[in-house]
C-alpha cells in the first residue's frame, strides 16, 4: 500500500521535499568544497614553510574579514538577513582569530594546520558522511532486515572497533616513545607544557611526511587523549545496554514460554534494540507544560553521566582501565550514588503525583541499601588491604581457591549481602519500587518518552553492568580464570596469547563473568514478585545492615588471627578456605548444570509455543 492510499497519513508536502533536496545538495556541495579547501591548504603549507605565520594570519584573519565585507553589501542589497548576518559573523570570526594569533604566543603553524587543513577535511568528511547516510538511510534499513548482511555488519563493526582501539593505543604509545627519545627531545617545551614542540617533531618527519608532525603533536597532551578515550568508553557503554536489553528480552521470553524478539536483524532479532533506539530518537520531544522544564531535561543526564563515570575507574583487566584510581572502589560507589539524584529530580520535575511517589521511594530505598552495600564491600577490601581494584584483583590470580568469595566465611556472606543490595541499587526486581508499574504507572519516568526515557534505561543497564563488575572484581576472581595464572603459557606468539586471553587472564573472562551475574539479575527479575516499600526498608535496615555489621566485625577478627603469628588458626583457616572453595565449586557446577539442563530442555520445560502441547498438532 502506498502512502497516498492511507488516508490518515498525510503525504509529505512538496515544499518540504524540495527543502530536503536542497539540504542534501548543500551537504554534498559543502562537504566537497571543504575537502578541496583542506587539500589546497595542505599543499599551501607544504609549499611555503617559511612565512607560515603571515599566511595563517592572512588566511584565518584577513580573508574572512574581506569576505564578510563583501557579503554585507550583497545581503543588504538583496534584503537577505541570512547573508548580512553571515557577513558580520565572518568579520567577527576573522577579527577573533586574527586577534588571538597576534595576542598569544601560540605557534601559528600548529593553529594553521589545525584550523585550515584538519578542520576543513574533518568537516568535509563529516558532511559527506551525513549526506551519504541520508541518501542510504532506506537502503541501510533494508540491509538491517536481511539476515547475513546484518551479521556481517555487526561483526565488521566489532572488528573495526577493535582495530580502531588498537590503532589508538599504538599511536599513543608511539607518541610516548617519541617523548622519551633523547635524540629527539631537547630541553625546549611547548607553550602548553608538552614535552615535544613542532620543531622537534619535524626533525623526525621531514619532507613529505612533515604534516604528520602536526597531527601527532596534540596527542601528547593528557586532555586530548582523555577526550578520545572517553569517546571509546561512551561507545562501549552504549553497546552494553543495547545488548543487555536484547538478551534480557530473550531470556524473559524463554522464561515466559515465548520466543522474545525474533524478527529485526534476522538471527533471533539481534538488532531489536537498535531498531527501538532509532524509534525512540524519532519520538516527540515532550516536556510536561506544568512541570519544571529545565530540571526535567537535566534529570536523564544526571542519571546517565554518573553511570558513564563509574566506568572510568572500572578495570576490565590489569591494563584495560581508563584511570587506575587508587580509590577506585569509593569512586564507583560515589558515582552510582549520584545516579539516584537524577531519578529524584526526574520525579519532582515531571509534576506528576505518581512520579513524585517513585522519586520518594527511590530516596527511601537509597538510604536503606547504600549502607549495607558499602559495609559488605568493606570485607574484601579489608581482606585485600587495598582500595585499588587492580591490586585487589592481583590477589586472586592463583586460581579458583584464591578468589576472595571463599577466602573466609564472612566474605561469602558479604558477597550475598552485596548482591542483594546491588539489586536494590540498580532498581531491579524485587526492588524495582521506584518504577513499579502496577502501583505507580511507571514511577519516576511516567512522563518521560523518547530519547530521555531511553537514557534512564541506558543508565540502569550500565549500572547493572558496573555493580556486577564490582562483584566480579571483589569476590569472583576479577579477570582471572579458575586456573592459576602461573600455568598460563608464557610465550609471545599469538597462540599462547589467545590461550592466555581466553582461559587465564583478560577482559573476555571479565565480561563473561559479568554476563553471568547479569543473567542472574534477569533471572530474578522475571521470577519474583515485587516487595513493598516498608519491606524493603525492613530487609535493608533491620536484616542486611546488622548482618553486614556482624560480617565486618567477624572478618576483622578473622584477619587478626589469620596470619603466621597464630599458626593453629592459620591452618584452620586454610581448611575452611578449602571447604568453602569446594562449596564454591559445587555451586558453580550446579548453576552451570542448571543452565545447560535448561538450555537443552528449553522447549519441554517452558513449552515454547504452547502449540507443542496441544493435542492433535
Amino acid at each position: 500500500m502506498s502512502q497516498a492510499t492511507i488516508p490518515w497519513i498525510e503525504p509529505v508536502p512538496e515544499k518540504r521535499v524540495a527543502m530536503r533536496r536542497k539540504a542534501l545538495l548543500v551537504l554534498f556541495g559543502g562537504g566537497l568544497t571543504a575537502l578541496i579547501v583542506g587539500c589546497v591548504m595542505l599543499g599551501v603549507f607544504r609549499a611555503l614553510p617559511d612565512q607560515v605565520g603571515t599566511i595563517v594570519f592572512i588566511l584565518a584573519g584577513v580573508l574572512p574579514i574581506l569576505g564578510g565585507l563583501g557579503l554585507i553589501p550583497l545581503g543588504l542589497l538583496n534584503g537577505s538577513v541570512v547573508l548580512t548576518t553571515l557577513g558580520f559573523a565572518q568579520i567577527g570570526i576573522g577579527a577573533l582569530v586574527g586577534g588571538l594569533l597576534k595576542a598569544t604566543p601560540i605557534d601559528p603553524l600548529v593553529v594553521g594546520v589545525l584550523l585550515l587543513v584538519i578542520g576543513p577535511i574533518a568537516a568535509g568528511l563529516a558532511m559527506l558522511t551525513a549526506a551519504g547516510v541520508i541518501v542510504a538511510f532506506k537502503q541501510v534499513v533494508q540491509l538491517l532486515l536481511m539476515r547475513w548482511t546484518a551479521l556481517i555488519l555487526f561483526c565488521g563493526g566489532i572488528v573495526s572497533i577493535i582495530l580502531l582501539v588498537w590503532a589508538h593505543a599504538f599511536v599513543f604509545r608511539y607518541v610516548a616513545q617519541l617523548a622519551n627519545d633523547t635524540t629527539l627531545n631537547t630541553s625546549a617545551t611547548t607553550t602548553f607544557g608538552g614535552d615535544l614542540t613542532i620543531a622537534e617533531l619535524s626533525t623526525r618527519f621531514s619532507g613529505n611526511w612533515r604534516p604528520v608532525a602536526f597531527v601527532l603533536w596534540p596527542l601528547q597532551f593528557g586532555l586530548i587523549r582523555d577526550l578520545i578515550a572517553m569517546g571509546g568508553v561512551i561507545g562501549f557503554i552504549s553497546i552494553i545496554p543495547l545488548y543487555t536489553i536484547w538478551w534480557e528480552r530473550k531470556v524473559a521470553g524463554r522464561i515466559q514460554s515465548r520466543l522474545g524478539p525474533m524478527r529485526v536483524g534476522g538471527w533471533h532479532g539481534w538488532a531489536q534494540s537498535f531498531a527501538d533506539g532509532m524509534k525512540l530518537i524519532c519520538k516527540e520531544d515532550f516536556v510536561p507544560p506544568e512541570g519544571d522544564g529545565t530540571l526535567f531535561r537535566l534529570a536523564p543526564y544526571l542519571a546517565f553521566v554518573p553511570a558513564i563515570c563509574a566506568f572510568i575507574a572500572l578495570p576490565f583487566a590489569t591494563t584495560y582501565v581508563f584511570r587506575d584510581l587508587d580509590v577506585a572502589l569509593l569512586f564507583i560507589l560515589a558515582m552510582l550514588g549520584i545516579e539516584v539524584l537524577g531519578v529524584i529530580i526526574a520525579g519532582w520535575a515531571s509534576n506528576n503525583k505518581w512520579s513524585v511517589y517513585g522519586a520518594m521511594r527511590e530516596a527511601c530505598q537509597m538510604v536503606s541499601y547504600e549502607i549495607p552495600m558499602g559495609m559488605a564491600l568493606l570485607v574484601p577490601v579489608m581482606t585485600a588491604g587495598a582500595l585499588r581494584l587492580t591490586d585487589i584483583a592481583k590477589l586472586q590470580q592463583d586460581g579458583f581457591g584464591s578468589w576472595l568469595a571463599w577466602n573466609n566465611p564472612f566474605c561469602l556472606i558479604a558477597f550475598f549481602c552485596y548482591y542483594t543490595a546491588s539489586l536494590a541499587s540498580c532498581k531491579r526486581a524485587p526492588f524495582d519500587l521506584p518504577e513499579s508499574e502496577s502501583e505507580l504507572v511507571a514511577g519516576f519516568h511516567t512522563e518521560y518518552s523518547g530519547f530521555r526515557w531511553s537514557l534512564f534505561f541506558f543508565a540502569e543497564y550500565a549500572a547493572m553492568f558496573a555493580v556486577s563488575g564490582l562483584a566480579v572484581i571483589l569476590f569472583l576472581g576479577a579477570w582471572y580464570g579458575p586456573l592459576p595464572l602461573s600455568w598460563a603459557p608464557a610465550g609471545n606468539d599469538i597462540a599462547s596469547a589467545v590461550v592466555r586471553g581466553l582461559l587465564f587472564d583478560g577482559p573476555i573472562l571479565f565480561i563473561l563473568k559479568c554476563g553471568l551475574l547479569l543473567y542472574v539479575q534477569i533471572w530474578i527479575r522475571w521470577t519474583l514478585p515485587r516487595i513493598r516499600i516498608d519491606q524493603v526498608l525492613y530487609a535493608c535496615i533491620q536484616v542486611l545492615l546488622p548482618l553486614t555489621m556482624l560480617v565486618v566485625l567477624g572478618s576483622t577478627f578473622w584477619l587478626l588471627f589469620d596470619n603466621s603469628a597464630h599458626p593453629a588458626f592459620e591452618s584452620f583457616a586454610k581448611v575452611v578456605r578449602g571447604l568453602l572453595s569446594l562449596v564454591g565449586v559445587v555451586i558453580s557446577i550446579a548453576i552451570a548444570g542448571f543452565i545447560i539442563f535448561g538450555f537443552v530442555n528449553r522447549r519441554r520445560l517452558v513449552g515454547t509455543l504452547a502449540i507443542e502441547h496441544f493435542p492433535g498438532s
Binding site: 515465548r258 520518594m360 502501583e439 516487595i531
Partner: protein
Amino acid sequence: MADTVLESRPDLNLDVVRDEIGDVRTEEMLVNMGPQHPSTHGVLRIVLRTDGEMVLEAVPHIGYLHRCAEKIGENVAPYQYIPYTDRMDYLAGMNNNLAFSLAIEALTGLEVPKRAQVIRVIFAEMNRIASHLVSMGAYGLDMGAFTPFLYAFRERERILDLFEASCGARLTYSYITIGGVTDDVPERFIDVCREYLDYFEPKIAEYNNLLSFNHIFVKRTANVGIISAEKAINWGLSGPSLRGSGVKWDLRKVHPDCGYDEYDFDIPVGQGLKGQLGDCWDRYFVRIQEMQQSVRIVRQALDKLAGTPGEYKHKSGKSVKLPKDEIYYEIEGARGQLGFFIQGDGSQIPYRVKARGPSYCNLSITNEVVKDCLLADVPAIIGSIDVVMGEVDR
C-alpha cells in the same frame, strides 16, 4: 435562589488536611488511580486520599464502561439479548449466558434437555477455570511477577481453543442460549478436553510453587485487606471474595441448577493459612482451589456427556413468550452471585431486565478495606476482589 453559587469546578483539595510539625509541612494528597492505570483492571477509577504512602480513603468511581445493557434488554427478545450478556463479565461469558438463559427458562417453564444441561456444566466450569486463570495471572502482575500471567494465558488459550471449536468465538461466545446450547459439541471434544485436563491439573501445583507459596508473594498478600466473615456478608460480597472470608456459601450447592447436585465437588473456603482469615492471600487461594474443583466437575461431566445422547436444545427456545410475571434468578458465576431480574408483560420482549453483577457488589467494600493501608496494597486488594468493569457498569 440567588444565594446559591454553583461551582463549575469544585475544589477537591478543600478538605485536605495540612499540618505543620516543627519545620516540616505535611499535606494530604488526592491521587487519581485510574481510569487509565495498569492495575485497576479496566476502567476503574479510584480517588485515593493519601498521606505519604498511607492511603486514608479510597473512593471508587464507576461508569466509564456503561453501555445501557439493561435498557437494551427491554428492547430485544431474550435470545437476542444473549450476546449482550457476554459483554458484561467478558472473562466469563458462558456463565453470564447461563444465568440469563436459566432465568428466562425459569420464567417460562421451558424444559432443558439432559444433554444440554451436561454441556452447560462443562462449559460453565471450563470458563470458570479460564476466568480464574486470568484473575490469578493478573494478580501476579499486580504484585510485580510477570511470568505467572504468561503461564496463565498459555493455559487459558487452550480452553479458548476448545470454546472456539464448539461455538466459533473466543471471548463472546453466546453459546449457552435459551433452551440449551446453540450447537452440539464437536467430534472428539470429550477426548481433547480430557487431554487438556490431564495437562492442566499438574500446572496448578506449578502455579503454587511459582506464585502462591512464594515468600515475597505471601508477604505482600497475607494479612493485607482483611475482610471478616461478618463484614463480607454485610457488604453483600459473594463468590471467591466471600468464601475467602471463610463463609461456606456456594449457589451450586445451595440451590443446584443444571444438575449440579449430581456432581461430587467441594467448596473451598479461606482458612487463614498464611495470615489472618479473610486476607488477600485467602481470596487468591480460594480461586486456585476452585480451579481444582472445576477440573473435578468437568471430568465427571465429560463421563456423563458420553452416556447422555439426545437433543442439545429445546426447539422453541427462540420463540418464547414471557408471561405476565417476574422472576429473580441467581447462579454462582466466576466472580460470585450473578442474578437476573426479568419482568414479562405477555409479549416476547421483557418489560424490565436488571442484572446483579457480583463485581459491582464486591467492589463496594473497597473503601472499607483499603482504608489505612499502604499504596502498594491497593492493587493487592483490588486484584484480590477481582472486579471486571464490564460487569460493574453493564
